[in-house]
């Protein structure tokens, strides 16, 4: 119980620190402004429905800014403690290194949750308003009026929270072993890139005519790198009447939570050996 209480306190302080960061406010305001103004970018839209364009724009902003926030904020909050020597003071008290690291992660994850909830609420407002405006026009033209699934958007937000949680845990693992803040950020962004392209290895595994060496490499890649693309089912969840296949979101959440836990364990193992 004491360990939980200590972790909670560290998480709370980390959350307050993170919320006060200018990067968080800047990315949140920029993301909100872009999500609201996405309707004004319709002139760039050629081949798709308007709502699909707006939704895709919002999902893109959520992922790009969210990833940037997850990587930079995680590394920055850890290195700030290490560089200012406050970590030394804290760890001199009866606080284990794992509790310290877990507290940092939970604080960052909570901030990422706030970021996602705010941006998704704005996106939901924009989509529902536009859907209500478009519906009479579509009906008059004899077309099926577009619909927005608010529950689907809530599930999508949950998936994005998991995705950003994995990115934060992965960055924490890299930062726990790295020497500099810059290296952690660059390696974190490269890990995000790898995670977004991991599906290529996963697709390779399903092909029957792949050699042993390639298969082994793909198997290793799919275990070591999380598949971040599997959380990208916003279109199906929010805009399509059929929705996503049953259980798709739940299985993605399960796989994501296992990867998140694995990276947290790895971060703790590395941080335990680190010289502060």
């Amino acid at each position: 119980m004491d360990a939980l209480r200590r972790t909670h306190w560290i998480a709370r302080i980390t959350f307050l620190e993170a919320v006060r960061q200018r990067l968080f406010s800047f990315l949140l305001l920029l993301g909100a402004a872009l999500a609201v103004s996405s309707v004004a970018f319709r002139f760039l839209n050629f081949g798709h429905g308007e709502l699909k364009f707006v939704a895709d724009f919002g999902f893109g902003i959520l992922f790009l800014f969210g990833s940037l926030l997850a990587v930079v904020m995680t590394a920055q909050l850890l290195y700030a403690e290490l560089d200012n020597r406050t970590a030394l003071t804290l760890l001199a008290k009866p606080v284990s290194r794992s509790e310290f690291l877990l507290g940092k992660f939970l604080g960052v994850w909570a901030v990422l949750g706030v970021f996602i909830v705010l941006l998704c609420s704005i996106l939901a407002g924009v989509l529902l308003t536009r859907a209500a405006e478009i519906a009479p026009v579509a009906e008059a033209a004899g077309r099926v009026p577009p619909s927005v699934n608010a529950a689907g958007l809530a599930i999508f937000a949950l998936l994005q929270w998991m995705r950003l949680g994995i990115i934060a845990a992965l960055t924490l693992f890299l930062a726990a072993g790295a020497r500099t803040f810059l290296f952690s950020v660059v390696a974190g962004m490269l890990a995000v890139l790898g995670g977004q392209l991991q599906w290529l290895a996963q697709d390779l595994l399903t092909k029957p005519d792949v050699g042993f060496f390639q298969r082994s490499l793909a198997w290793f890649a799919t275990r070591a790198v999380p598949n971040l693309q599997q959380f990208n089912i916003g279109d199906a969840l929010v805009l399509e009447s059929a929705g996503a296949p049953a259980g798709a979101a739940a299985s993605a959440l399960l796989a994501g939570s296992l990867h998140l836990l694995a990276f947290l364990f790895l971060a703790c193992a590395l941080f335990r050996r680190r010289e502060i």
Binding site: F41, L44, N45, F46, G47, H48, K52, F53, D56, F57, F59, G60, I61, L62, F63, L64, V192, L193, Q196, L197, W199, L200, Q202, D203, L205, T206, W219, T222, R223, A224, P226, N227, Q229, Q230, N232, I233, G234, D235, A236, A244, P245, G247, A248, S251, A252, L254, A255, L258, H259, L261, A262, F265, L266, C268, A269, R272, R273
Partner: protein, 257 residues
């Protein structure tokens, strides 16, 4: 927890996460537009990575389409086709991209090639026909890909049929596409007539009549409120031309004039 136990638990969790990820990816894959390693290789330098990575697929597809316009005006065939195909790859459900790419490759680029060879006055009619047919086949290949990936099948098959009819000048090939369009769920009312007419003109008169008759009885008459009287009129002309005996003709309909 000892360091050894932590490392072991991490490895076990990673293996479990990988296995769970395999299963969840199999469930999620149909929701994500098809994009393979080949397309990534072909267009990695043109912004596709941003589209794939960032989720801004539609925006990158639109920007790519805009850039293709610039190259279209300059008549730069390779670059224009690459950018148009990139837009199709990034947003494979968009009918507009596939249809316009099919037209651009099948029609516009053939014109550019003839102009490049000296223009219509200098290039012989045989060479012009050859160029048009070659580009039309490329355009048809694009449209076939679009029909596979987009949600609307019929419009692509109709355009493919038009290219086959007018540029490849292969009536049988055109009839095949029109027939496929007529038999798809989103078939326009004229697709069956096109299919029957082109097959008829290709010389397959008996087959054209048999298919059209069967299609009218089982689909057109049921699907259309007015029971497709124009198609029946067309069928009557075919029966006359083929000399179908009165007993084997389509029975006279009560509403028929």
């Amino acid at each position: 927890m000892s360091a050894w136990a932590t490392w072991t638990a991490s490895a076990a969790l990673l293996i479990a996460a990988g296995s769970a990820s395999d299963r969840s990816w199999a469930a999620v894959r149909p929701c994500i537009p098809e994009l393979g390693a080949r397309q990534l290789e072909l267009s990695a330098g043109q912004g596709v990575l941003l589209g794939v990575l960032g989720g801004l697929r539609t925006l990158v597809a639109d920007v790519s389409w805009l850039r293709s316009y610039v190259l279209w005006e300059r008549k730069e065939e390779a670059g224009c086709e690459a950018l148009m195909r990139l837009a199709c790859t990034l947003d494979p459900h968009a009918r507009y991209f596939w249809e316009q790419t099919g037209f651009a490759v099948g029609l516009d680029m053939a014109n550019w090639e003839i102009r490049r060879r000296g223009g219509y006055a200098r290039v012989s009619k045989e060479v012009q026909d050859h160029v048009f047919a070659a580009y039309a086949r490329k355009g048809i290949a694009v449209l076939e890909e679009g029909a596979r990936t987009s949600r609307n099948r019929a419009p692509f098959l109709i355009v493919a049929g038009q290219l086959a009819e007018m540029k490849v000048r292969d009536q049988r090939m055109a009839a095949t596409y029109y027939r496929a369009a007529a038999e798809s769920e989103d078939a326009p009312w004229y697709a069956a007539r096109f299919a029957a007419r082109t097959a008829w003109e290709a010389g397959d008169r008996a087959q054209a009549y048999a298919w059209y008759r069967d299609h009218w009885s089982s689909v057109l008459r049921v699907r259309h409120e007015d029971r497709a009287p124009d198609d029946l009129a067309e069928l009557r002309m075919m029966e006359d031309a083929l000399g179908v005996p009165a007993m084997r003709r389509i029975p006279r309909q009560p509403w028929e004039r």
